[in-house]
């Protein structure tokens, strides 16, 4: 029997997922900077709160500032049979461990002919919106989605955060788990059920336009959808939740119904993951689309510091509305 859903913030949902998974599986460890000594003892956004008290300092480790070895040692520990979670304080810093992720962990199963599993989760946060500027605000999920052997998870709700983090830790593949720094305090109902990787979520049903979006952009798309409804455009919103494995079937089904498509992501638009979704959809649903699919993504610019500039480079609800109208062909009714 399912327990009744609880209302939790995303950081608490993540914290609960860690506690539950660490209780269930004693072969799990977690390490990262300032995990137990910062704030009230739970890392920079609280996600590891009380982990050390509960599971001890052997399994919950504060580390030096050495991202490269943290990630490669995480890969080595995972290959040696320990389910390893590495927390990287901001996902921008994961680039320091790119060799461990891309050249080692991602390839370890394949290169060695399937002998090794590498149950590594690298948890971090991406996204902008809180003034952290160019080196603490990137949305780099596309880079990892392009790498064979990696799984990429981008949860946008508390329930998804819980269910997907547990699945990510259980996965025998290396997984990049990217939280969103502006959403940690968002609340939602959490059922505490596992959510398999590779299953999109229909965040809103509608019949006129399919919007594919993740994390903060899902939220903005939902806002936009309310306003669009008033203008007679009924939007369906698909949150892929994982970029790899990716659930194109849910997108295809939606697009076949709505015949219009818009992808919105906070990652830079150019060469961002939206292009993959569009290319697949165009190839699969050619003849079932009434207009060209459109994309919104961050401008081709680093994330600036000053507030208005930061907002300007990332898609807003207003821009989503405008692009949605363009996507369904209501160019004339464009709001500004």
């Amino acid at each position: 029997m399912n327990k009744p859903a609880q209302q939790l913030t995303i950081w608490r949902a993540l914290n609960a997922a860690l506690h539950d998974e660490f209780t269930e599986d004693p072969s799990t460890i977690i390490m990262g900077e300032d995990l137990t000594t910062w704030g009230t003892g739970g890392g920079i956004y609280g996600v590891t709160r009380k982990m050390a008290d509960t599971f001890g300092k052997e399994r919950v480790r504060d580390t030096p500032i050495s991202e490269e070895v943290l990630i490669s040692a995480g890969a080595g520990a995972a290959m040696a049979g320990t389910r390893t979670v590495v927390e990287i304080m901001y996902s921008d810093f994961m680039l320091l461990g790119a060799d461990g992720l891309i050249n080692q962990a991602a390839k370890s199963r394949y290169m060695f002919g399937g002998q090794f599993a590498t149950p590594l989760v690298v948890r971090s946060n991406g996204g902008s919106g809180i003034g952290k500027a160019a080196q603490h605000s990137q949305s780099l999920e596309t880079l990892y989605a392009h790498i064979p052997g990696l799984e990429v998870v981008v949860p946008g709700t508390a329930n998804d955060a819980y269910g997907l983090l547990r699945s990510a830790i259980k996965s025998n593949n290396p997984t990049i788990f990217l939280e969103h720094k502006a959403l940690y305090y968002d609340k939602g109902a959490v059922t505490k059920e596992l959510i398999p990787l590779g299953q999109a979520r229909v965040a809103r049903e509608g019949k006129d336009l399919t919007i594919v979006a993740t994390q903060l952009m899902t939220k903005r798309a939902l806002e936009a959808a309310d306003m669009l409804a008033e203008q007679g455009v009924d939007v369906e919103i698909i949150d892929p939740r994982t970029l790899y494995p990716f659930d194109m079937e849910t997108v295809f089904a939606s697009v076949r119904k709505t015949r219009h498509m818009l992808v919105v992501h906070e990652a830079v638009r150019d060469f961002g993951w939206g292009a993959e979704f569009i290319s697949n959809t165009v190839q699969e649903c050619w003849g079932e689309l009434d207009a060209a699919p459109r994309r919104l993504g961050a401008a081709r610019a680093p994330i600036p510091y000053s507030e208005e500039l930061e907002s300007a480079v990332v898609p807003s609800a207003q821009e989503i509305i405008a692009e949605s109208l363009a996507a369904v062909g209501h160019r004339k009714r464009l709001l500004v």
């Binding site: 910062w38 704030g39 504060d62 500032i65 050495s66 500027a133 507030e307 500039l309």
Partner: protein, 331 residues
């Protein structure tokens, strides 16, 4: 060629003391106001004040020219101000204003000033080390006698890039001075837990660099060690590693609960305060009298008052600027 390595410009209390005191006092005043700006919502994201650590940047910078390069870290306002950055334009950047050095695009962790050779404060712990090494390489390749300084914390010494930079600088004799501000914490992590060999200078030695420990709460000591290192670098004798023992009085950044240290410890370190120590020395050696000390303190406050009103009255940047300056010739 014989190079007189001991002929460097020693710190002179009479001539260098008053200006060092004023600069440290200005930095102290500047940095002390930051938490208030954060609380008032004037600063977004993270800002890392260096109150308590003023002697390092001020001591090091005495030996530097405008054409020398400095690569800094997240706790970098002092490095900029000591190198000659205008407090008003620096603060304007921290507040995200149009008149900030970077037009509000950078913020506290990305303050660069090209004409002063400031290659930026930096949001990536350890990253300035490589940039400074590169600036030193540029100076050497161009046959210029410029030097480069990398400032970084004790926490950054655990980034692999430091060992790579040590080695590269040593084999190429690069004109670079590596300055570690060892304030004993990396965010909430203590040095004792994060290293097994706390004599950090041994890391420099292991790669072949002359490496020295210096009292980072004593501007004179820092200044002399840095002047010697800069002189060596400028003379073609290569890199030096300086480890300055210091402490930050404030939290790592706004919102720091500081559960990782005791109030006692903070108070003990305040007993070694670099500004008080220099002021006392200037007083007891009759370089300055109390009135002059008070005047310097007042000057510092009014300099920062000026900076504050300049910065606060600077407008926010035009939104269109968000889309420019990504690449040359490419919008």
């Amino acid at each position: 060629m014989t190079i007189e390595t001991d002929v460097f410009n020693k710190f002179d209390l009479g001539t260098d003391g008053p200006s060092a005191l004023e600069l440290m006092s200005t930095i102290r005043e500047f940095e002390s106001r930051l938490p208030g700006y954060s609380e008032a919502g004037l600063i977004r994201g993270s800002t890392h004040p260096s109150v308590g650590m003023e002697a390092v940047a001020v001591g090091v910078s005495r030996a530097l020219r405008d054409s020398d390069s400095v690569a800094s870290n997240h706790r970098g306002h002092a490095h900029c101000l000591a190198k000659g950055a205008d407090p008003g334009r620096t603060l304007a950047e921290i507040l995200g204003r149009r008149d900030g050095y970077c037009g509000g695009k950078g913020g506290s962790m990305h303050i660069g000033v090209k004409e002063l050779g400031i290659l930026g404060t930096n949001g990536i712990v350890g990253a300035g080390i490589g940039l400074a090494t590169g600036a030193a390489l540029a100076a050497q390749a161009q046959g210029a006698d410029n030097v480069a300084v990398a400032y970084f914390g004790d926490g950054a010494t655990n980034q692999g890039v430091l060992s790579e930079a040590f080695n590269l600088a040593a084999i190429w004799n690069l004109p670079v001075v590596f300055v570690c501000e060892n304030n004993h914490f990396a965010q909430s992590a203590t040095l004792e837990e994060m290293v097994a060999q706390p004599d950090l200078h041994r890391r420099g030695e292991a790669y072949g660099l002359p490496s020295v420990d210096v009292d980072g709460m004593d501007v004179e000591a820092v200044s002399n060690a840095a002047a010697e290192a800069v002189h060596r670098a400028r003379s073609g004798l290569g890199p030096t590693f300086i480890v300055a023992d210091t402490y930050r009085y404030l939290g790592h950044m706004a919102g720091d609960t500081e559960i990782y240290r005791t109030v006692d410890q903070v108070e003990q370190w305040k007993g070694r305060d670099p500004i008080n120590r220099l002021a006392e020395k200037l007083l007891t050696s009759n370089v300055l009298d109390q009135a002059q000390l008070d005047a310097i303190a007042a000057t510092a406050v009014s300099a920062v008052d000026g900076a504050e009103s300049f910065a606060k009255s600077s407008p926010y940047p035009d939104v269109s600027s968000a889309f420019t300056q990504v690449s040359e010739d490419i919008r």
